[in-house]
Symmetry: C2
Subunit: 317 residues, 2 copies
DNA sequence: AGCATTTGTGTAAGTACTTACAAAATATAT
DNA sequence: ATATATTTTGTAAGTACTTACACAAATGCT
């Protein structure tokens, strides 16, 4: 099984599954040992009912950490085998109250004894190992409850990507990328307007020459994000043309671009940043908020139809 | 979840299953993170094919530790999604050789990167814990490969039962049990013969008064086993009427009875033990062998039709 | 009291594997 | 060379759970 060795803990899930399967098989063998006509998967439910009778399905499920559906299925089988009986609740007619039948009660001491034997065997097994599996599971469950594996992986990937993302200044060779990335998202949500086409086709004329700046994000040799600072009166820049390629979204590239834009505005002596957007663009607004932008009380009307929100960020110089 | 706390490690199997399920769910979330249209269960197969192309189904299965059936199913899906292609083997037409398609090869770097990220995340997770889950699994698998859980449980149970089993001397009140236990197994395999009935109905007359002894095994207040020493010429006793109740079989009660009988024969100054049995009775012969009995080369003919094997145990006094 | 909402349960279908079985190609024995 | 055994694979069904859905009973709200 070089597979596990090569991949290491990345295959943790697979390995856990294998071991749990092995344990389940062994459990079946244990029942055979005691001549008990009983299936391992019944145990949690039976144990719970025997310990505290007159519980209903939902309560049993909660105690053993399975779903009510699983409990319901197991109870059906236990009933068929004559080990438990189910009655409608008296006060609450929806509930199914469960108790042991006489033959279930007969079985109970044997199962208890068996559980005690299994417990002892497992404890001896665990005592033999340097790394205690039972405690390790507990610690792992705790660690995962604090931060999920997926979000841990995301953190790692974001760090790696951030190290690979470069923020570049616009040069004329970037015009096609600049246009493509912006046209892409505008067309997805709205319609390309005349004003858009002018500035996307001729950013030199419409953005740079009037004193603006354009920043680009490069990842693995490809331009995957853009954003522009457009000069406005009163030491203000408008943050516009913010776009990240769909394939590169979720990598924190917007954040990097935004931060770079804010830093650049500061360098240029801006006292205020301003932007226009649309409330439909949730993730974008989220990003702006993270960067420090807040809703403007009132501002000049926008030339774009699609803008229904304005935000600003005062820059204390 | 008091269930796990109450039962402790006896519920190890359940707990492993829960954790592995959680890891599987998380794995799916990780794929979503990378925008990869890929299911976690494909990974082992895909990984193996990408690392070493032109393997066939059986080889892949062996490497990843799954069955060929599982590999076959996953390959079907991978093919449907255009990630791998399967060809008949040239030399051996039974084999299905697997290689990546161009689009599978495209996906490979992303998956490799992702696996590396997952590995790092998991390693950080493991480093945070006091009991290393990865190593604990390895140790547990090793321990179980040396002795299965079922056999460990059996050892523990046998010890417990042995402590509870008492070997008693026959008194007339035991006659019904003595008869019941012997009749039970004789009728299961053969037919009760006249000779049987005499000694079972009147053990005093046929066994004890001629100088024999009867031992009984008592477990939890019930007589669950019998065995008799019948006096023969030349300081020899015949070990006969060995019976253990079906419900109590496998508990090592036969062994205890047998050992007690041998010890008693020694006390009585016997120089040899003798018995007759049938080769159909595998477990019984096994027990006799464990007690030290060996096949007799030739002996006097038995009054019982069912006897086709004779064994003896010389007792060095 | 009449309505929507919540709660409790059961059933069906899915999941990621397994075991069991079947069929074809190849290897081995006579 | 022919019959038999073994290898290789695919398919079906099972396992021990899950999620999704449906429906009745109870509760909350006006």
């Amino acid at each position: 099984m070089d597979f596990f060795e090569q991949l290491g803990p990345a295959a943790l899930g697979s390995r856990l599954r294998r071991l749990s399967e092995q344990m389940t098989t062994q459990a079946a063998a244990v029942y055979a040992l005691y001549h008990v006509p009983f299936e391992p998967r019944w145990f949690p439910v039976f144990y719970t009912v025997a310990s505290t009778p007159d519980l209903h399905v939902g309560e049993i499920a909660e105690r053993i950490g399975h779903t009510h559906a699983a409990v319901s299925q197991v109870l059906k089988e236990l009933t068929k085998h004559g080990l438990v009986q189910v009655q409608r609740g008296e006060a609450d007619q929806r509930r199914s109250l469960v108790t042991l039948t006489p033959s279930g009660a007969d079985l109970w001491p044997t199962l208890q004894q068996q559980a005690a034997d299994v417990r002892q065997a497992t404890e001896e097994l665990l005592a033999d190992t340097r790394h205690n599996l039972w405690l390790a599971i507990g610690e792992m469950e705790y660690a995962l409850s604090r931060q999920s594996l997926a979000s841990r992986v995301k953190t790692i990937r974001d760090q790696r990507v951030a190290a690979q993302v470069q923020i570049l200044d616009y040069t004329p060779q970037h015009q096609p990328d600049f246009k493509r990335l912006n046209a892409e998202w505008i067309e997805r949500y709205f319609r390309l307007e005349e004003t858009d086409l002018k500035s996307l086709n001729h950013p030199d004329d419409y953005i740079l020459r009037p004193g603006g700046h354009i920043l680009l994000a490069q990842h693995q040799g490809r331009i995957v994000g853009t954003c522009a600072l457009i000069k406005m009166p009163d030491a203000t820049f408008e943050l516009a043309k913010m776009a990240v390629s769909p394939a590169a979204q979720g990598l924190g590239i917007g954040q990097r671009l935004g931060e770079a834009a804010v830093a650049r505005a500061r360098e240029l002596g801006a006292r205020r940043l301003y932007l226009e957007s649309n409330t439909k663009l949730g993730p974008a607004l989220n990003l702006y908020h993270k960067l420090g932008f807040r809703k403007t009380v009132s501002g000049p009307p926008s030339p774009y139809e699609r803008c229904n929100i304005q935000m600003e960020l005062p820059l204390s110089s």
